[in-house]
């Protein structure tokens, strides 16, 4: 029993932090641009396969590849998603959602076509190798590091929103876009900033978890589903809610896995999300502003 | 006919409507005036069932209709218009009024074309028959207000709640609209509770006026008495007002 409790605690911490990283970008876009970015899964796929592309086809080392991949991600998010889809179809939500989904499907299937599972894609981003025992639980250093990095990135994000001028403008935009425009905020530039920022947490997350999380071209879907569930549970676009919800879902997954059967973890999280939606519409922190 | 008994509504700590009581008798036109933010539209929403009152009761024709859902209130015989006209934008004028005809009360033996025919009678009554196939988004303000009136009348109410029907109309349009309301009252035999800001109209039309300020009823009585009541003048008219 003690072992299970310890496992639950440790894995809640680890998974919660990882889910937090995954969902931060999604919540940011939800809160600032007020759209549901169903193509967010592209960031996960591009991280892995973009880096691999630079490393194996272009022949760069790991660090230059990562930098190249970051640039690729930001360009992709700004040009294809923001300028290509969001700006043109902001008024027609169904078209917007479908187009983003189609872009995601294109990228995923392209990755599968160019680098199928048999191509042996891997990211050598292990920082510390080996495992250690935390109490009665054995985890790898990489997992702990991923969790710590997750918390660090989240803290940086929150500080950015609370302390910097750009963060203040973004918070104002998420509350009342017209008033912000009247106050002189440069909406477009802030949107660019938000899109670029939203790409960073998932990229860092995948780089950190690649050694122990399975990599395949279709990894975008389940991770997007997790991000969506965290966003819905926490309140769309609310960072406080995202933080609370990621640890809550991490807790649910850990509890179901260690106290029951791990097959049901996704299902259990879904049931909890639905129940919260019914009894508290809008999620845990239903305010629909970013902080 | 309609009795408001000690009704209150609080939003957070703010009392939008604070223990208001009055009644409206059958066949009357009662005016409801007060400064902006006095709680007039909130009171209307409380009668219609859009909000639930925190205290008090709303009694209509002997039945307690407090906190009934709006469609049941409509079926009971109360209808309303809106301060800012809310037509069905993508439907024609005829379509909007037909919605009222079909759903206002239980109609045996009525198909869509029968309902459209009846709707056209209401449109003709308010003078919009020639615009029956125009989309509601293409009508001007006066026509929109007439459409609102036609739609409310189409639900065959016994009690009509008018919310600032004269706002934004020039004097000629306003007097035409007033005539329309009067002929509606005569022809359909309805009782009216009328929120209004245009003093000239409401003092002409109403038999009694109720005054609200900060959610509380501060005066009630004949129009001339209200116009000269010191409390009303201070709260609303802001200084001396020429006597009628």
């Amino acid at each position: 029993m003690m072992v299970q409790l310890q496992s639950i605690l440790v894995y809640t911490f680890i998974w919660g932090s990882i889910y937090l990283l995954i969902s931060l970008g999604f919540s940011l876009i939800c809160g600032v641009l007020r759209i549901f970015h169903l193509g967010y899964g592209v960031t996960f796929v591009l991280t892995v396969y973009g880096t691999w592309l630079f490393m194996s086809n272009v022949g760069l080392g790991l660090i230059p590849s990562i930098i190249g991949m970051f640039l690729l991600q930001i360009i992709f998010a700004l040009v294809i998603f923001y300028m290509g889809v969001f700006q043109r179809f902001l008024e027609q939500e169904e078209v917007l959602l479908t187009l983003t989904m189609l872009v995601f499907l294109t990228v995923t299937h392209l990755a599968n076509y160019l680098y199928p599972v048999t191509a042996g894609v891997y990211l050598p981003t292990t920082i510390i190798d080996g495992t250690f025992k935390l109490g009665a639980v054995r985890i790898s250093y990489q997992m702990l590091l991923a969790a710590l990095v997750g918390i660090a990135v989240a803290v940086l994000f929150v500080l950015m929103f609370l302390k910097t001028r750009a963060g203040l403008i973004i918070r104002a935009m998420s509350q009342n876009i017209h008033a912000s425009m009247l106050m002189g905020a440069n909406i477009n530039r802030m949107y660019y900033l938000a899109m670029a920022l939203s790409v960073i947490p998932p990229t860092i997350c995948i780089l950190m978890i690649a050694p122990f999380w399975g990599i395949d071209p279709y990894m975008g879907s389940p991770l997007l589903a997790t991000a969506m569930m965290v966003a819905i549970l926490g309140g769309l676009g609310n960072l406080k809610g995202t933080i609370i919800a990621s640890y809550l879902i991490g807790f649910i997954h850990a509890t179901v896995s260690f106290l029951y059967v791990s097959r049901f973890m996704g299902f259990a999280a879904l049931i909890v999300t639905l129940l919260v939606m019914i009894f508290r519409r809008g999620g845990i922190m239903a305010g629909e502003t970013i902080w | 006919m309609l009795e408001i008994k000690d009704v209150s509504k609080y939003f957070g700590g703010l009392a939008a409507v604070d223990h208001v009581s009055f009644s409206v008798n059958q066949g009357e036109i009662v005016g409801l005036i007060g400064p902006n933010g006095a709680g007039k539209t909130t009171l209307l929403n409380l009668i219609c069932g859009i909000y639930k009152p925190d205290t008090g009761r709303v009694i209509f024709e002997g039945e307690d209709i407090t906190a009934r859902p709006p469609n049941k209130v409509c079926r009971a015989g109360i209808s309303r218009t809106y301060q800012i006209p809310r037509p069905f934008e993508a439907m024609t004028a005829l379509g909007g009024v037909t919605v009222g005809v079909i759903n206002g009360k239980r109609r045996p033996n009525m198909t869509l074309s029968d309902a459209a025919l009846e709707a056209s009678y209401y449109l003709e009554f308010v003078g919009l028959f020639s615009k029956r196939d125009t989309l509601a988004s293409d009508l001007n303000l006066y026509e929109l207000r007439m459409l609102e009136l036609a739609r409310a009348l189409a639900t065959t109410p016994r009690f009509l709640l008018l919310d600032e029907s004269m706002a934004g109309l020039n004097p000629a349009e306003a007097s035409r609209a007033l005539d329309m309301v009067w002929s509606a009252q005569e022809q359909f035999g309805i009782t009216i509770l009328w929120i209004e800001h245009v003093m000239k109209i409401i003092t002409q039309a109403a038999q009694r006026i109720v005054v609200l300020d900060y959610g509380q009823k501060i005066a009630e009585g004949e129009p001339t008495a209200i116009m000269n009541d010191q409390r009303v003048i201070e709260a609303y008219l802001g200084g001396k007002h020429a006597r009628h």
């Binding site: 549901f36 959602l97 499907l105 299937h109 | 409509c74 809310r86």
Partner: protein
Amino acid sequence: MVTFELKRDRVLLRWGDRKYEWIIEPRYWRNPALGVIFMLILPLFFYNRPSILTMITTANLLAAVVIPLSLQMIGTGRVNFGPQLYLGIGGYTSALLNLHLGCNPLVTLLANILVCGSIALLLSPITWIARGLYFSLITLILPLAFLDLTYIYGDLFRGEVGLVGMSALINLGKVKLNYLAYFYLSLFLMLLYMLVADKIVRSRFGVSMAAINEDEDVAQMMGVNVNRYKVFNYVFPSILIGIVGWFIVHTFRTFAGVTYLPLEFMIKILIIVLVGGRAFIYSVVPGAYFVAILEEILRGFGPIHYVLFPVALIVAIVVLPSGEGLFGLYHRRHHRDYFPKFRVRRE
């Protein structure tokens, strides 16, 4: 009791104190009649090419899924991102009953209607509890959760392989005749759905549904029982989609949730709505045929077709006139709103 009356241009049905009428407008029926005749003759050209027959049968079935979806969108005022949930539920119900209990197709049809109806009724509160976007999100997740469930209980649902060998609806002996018969049956199903949806939308219920779509609060103030309409418009189309699942089970005789439940299938359905033209129920047919034919053409390119298909769809969405899609090219010449047409004649 129930009486029929035939007037000069309409059929009246009287039942108790209710009156239903069907106005017959010869001008209105000419183009659809031509379309139907064209679709009836179509398979005879491809009698010897079963792959094309399967393709247009699939197109008919896709249309039969999207027509209830359009009805649902018009009636509830929300976009349902997961109609294939009921395809999966209906299909598995029919398949499991048929395989394990040996029920014949009629019994599985009734069971299908019952199961889909009850589950839809159970889930219907989300139509009024969840606001627009949340409704779409919940419906997006539900089919994936159901797919998860089929994997969890893999021994019952047979996971990715699916269930095979259900009994056929009709068996005419020769395989080619079977394919032909399946096409005509699917065509009949699709046309039936189109007729039902058309009648509902162009009636007094359709007007109230349109009012709910425009402005819910005002509609409620005019006496429309909004929740009842939303529940009906969620449950009824769900049952119709479940019946399509039953049809798939008994004609294709294999059923795997993984074909119909994940994102890829849902994209096809959404595309049909968008490319066909959104507010129209009739536009579903060209949309469905477009998607089915596109998929078949691209399949010839080999494994890269998984990439080409989304790209082709992106091009289609961006290029076609927004909101009207393929049907918009036809609609511009024949003006017909999706609201019922009112004609008031002065006597």
